[in-house]
């Protein structure tokens, strides 16, 4: 069979395919069956590991259910919900800790990622590819290793950060110094620094966004006499805003579930003064340390609802600040 024969046939098939799209005959039903067959792993997984557990979780949240004594599980209706929302101040404190952290971490993370992307996109930078690789590399460092390293680097007595500040003349070491892990007011900043290595993905996505800005826009702005700042605010930021939005949503959802770093450093103690008692830490404590399945499921549902509401709000603000060029919409 020759190549032309194949391409002719495929042309015919393409033609027929187009015709077919208008109707829904037996062939289409057969193809649709194949489609279902291909996506079936996910469909099965979705029922087994998402829908069913979510429903079970909702049901659990109405039970007083200790894992150790499953036979004594009793239906208590909204008891767990009332406890979580009105009678357990730890829940609210955990949310304050978590949201305060998100409020500090998110903007700082977005700014650092955007700033580094600008730098790594600069035409003036020599050795751009090497710089990109090296700035990204720490994102690959496993979280556990990065946490242990930053724990020591930020150590108030012996860490390099405080030693450097001390050398610069700041009174960083000692009781009156900067006690990164012991001062409750510093904790959000400390943990932000602890996670700063993880911005690599955000940098890369920002970079791709920056490269997608048409140069003609800059050229015409330059002709109009717009300076660097003006071009930044009126061209670069709006054009990259979809990318910033994407990073914001993923960052927000991730931060609500912040767990590894505080758990590795302080377990479930919340040291200092409950400042590291993040919501997931409290959830872990109730659900898996105390094995309170009912209350744990309730806390998980509250987390889900909060995440959903905050995501919807974030999407709601998008039309005020996220710029989508017309052809994309």
């Amino acid at each position: 069979m020759t190549d032309t024969a194949v391409s002719k046939r495929s042309q015919n098939r393409a033609q027929r395919k187009q015709d077919r799209q208008l109707g829904y005959g037996p062939l289409e039903r057969k193809r649709a069956r194949y489609g279902w067959w291909f996506i079936s792993p996910w469909i099965i997984g979705f029922f087994l590991f998402y829908l069913l557990p979510m429903a079970a979780s909702a049901f659990f949240s109405t039970l007083d259910f200790q894992l150790a004594t499953p036979d004594e599980a009793t239906f208590i209706g909204g008891g767990n919900w009332r406890r979580a929302l009105f009678n357990d101040p730890s829940v609210w404190r955990a949310w304050v800790v978590t949201l305060r952290f998100a409020l500090i971490n998110l903007p700082l993370g977005l700014i650092v990622a955007f700033g580094l992307a600008l730098l790594l996109n600069s035409d003036y930078l020599r050795g751009r590819n090497l710089f990109r690789t090296l700035f990204y590399a720490p994102s690959i460092v496993p979280f556990i290793a990065a946490t242990l390293i930053f724990d020591q680097v930020l150590n108030s007595q012996t860490g390099w950060v405080n030693r450097f500040l001390d050398w610069m003349g700041v009174n960083a070491i000692g009781v009156d110094g900067i006690r990164w892990f012991d001062d409750p007011t510093l904790i959000p900043l400390t943990f932000t620094l602890l996670g700063i290595w993880g911005v690599g993905n955000a940098i890369l996505i920002n970079l791709a966004g920056l490269q997608g800005v048409p140069t003609s826009l800059y050229e015409s702005a330059a002709i109009d006499g717009a300076g660097w700042w003006r071009r930044m605010l009126t061209i670069t930021v709006p054009m990259v805003s979809p990318v910033i939005f994407y990073n914001l949503v993923l960052g927000l959802v991730g931060l609500l579930q912040y767990f590894l770093q505080p758990f590795v450093l302080n377990g479930t103690t919340g040291y200092p003064e409950g400042a590291t008692n993040f919501y997931m830490i409290y959830f872990y404590k109730q659900a898996f340390q105390f094995a309170e399945m009912g209350y744990g499921a309730t806390l998980a549902w509250i987390l889900f609802i909060v995440a959903l509401v905050l995501t919807i709000i974030t999407f709601g603000t998008a039309r005020y600040w996220v710029y989508y060029s017309v052809d994309e919409v």
Partner: protein
Amino acid sequence: MSTRTKPAATAFDEAAARIKRRRLLTTWAVTIVAMVLLTVWLMPLGYAGVTSLKTRDQATEPPILPTATAKYEYEGREYDVYQVPIDDGVRELALVDKGRESSGFIDPADPEAGIIEWEGRWRTLEPVRSLNFAWGNYPEAWETIDFPSLLFWTVFYATVTLIGAVISSAFVAYGFARYKFRGKGVLFMVLMATIILPPAVTQVPAYAFFTWIGWTGTWLPLVVPQFFANAYNVFLLRQYFLTIPGEMEQAAAVDGAGPLRTMLSVILPQAVPALTAVSLFHFFFAWNDFFGPLIYLVSARDLQPISVGLTLFNGVYNTEPQLIMAASFITLVIPLVIFFFAQRVFIQGIVITGVDK
């Protein structure tokens, strides 16, 4: 004529030279700023590397590099070496006879010369410090933490779930990319929405269920669900499949290949870059995964992966910073090496997921 054009040309040249100078200056400034930032950025890695080679005492001492006072062995005993201002310069001499106002030294370079007397208080002298790397931290950390077991289970988890997650995701992605069926759009939205679903909401009943069927304390609850595709992988692979022209598949279908054959022998070979990217993502994800292994394997010490094992190690050995840094360094080396070899594919993958949304 020529006399009139000449000054204009020089003025133009001057302007061009000025612009060139400015460009060069900016290039230097930007590159230097980047280098300074990079130094700060990578400083913690340097800290980890250096500290992992210090002894317990050096780890908390100010000198950046692991140094110890130099020693010299003379007639069967060890003596400290000092910087002694003697004659017309400073010599490095071993203090063998400590005296109040004058001391006796030996020149390590020339011990035959005998004892050199030096007038002055030896306590005012600066000891000579020399580099000494405590390589022993690595074997010590390796053994105390039982790294072979941690590494084995981490690699086991990463590879087994990688195979499961990538293959299942490839099927699902192919279904979404190439077939038309009712409700496909809605299903795809649901799939994408699972990205923002906090895993916590399914974890409690899953844990209760897996405890009930006796799977806690094994890897099964962590491995089995990975064989049912996940949103990130499906999304990335679907995006890639959509860029592959359909002609070859149609040709294969004409030749009598079924949908499965077509996918395996026509699409997969063309999607190697995307499959590699997804595999790498999954590998790093598994290397980092913490919450699941923590709740299911907290009491099964022999089965724990690095993330959980290192956490427990940190709790027990928090007075031995150098061992913790050695352990951290071992942990980060493998992913970092893989990244440096595969960075192009990897970075493209991130950009696809991020930009195409």
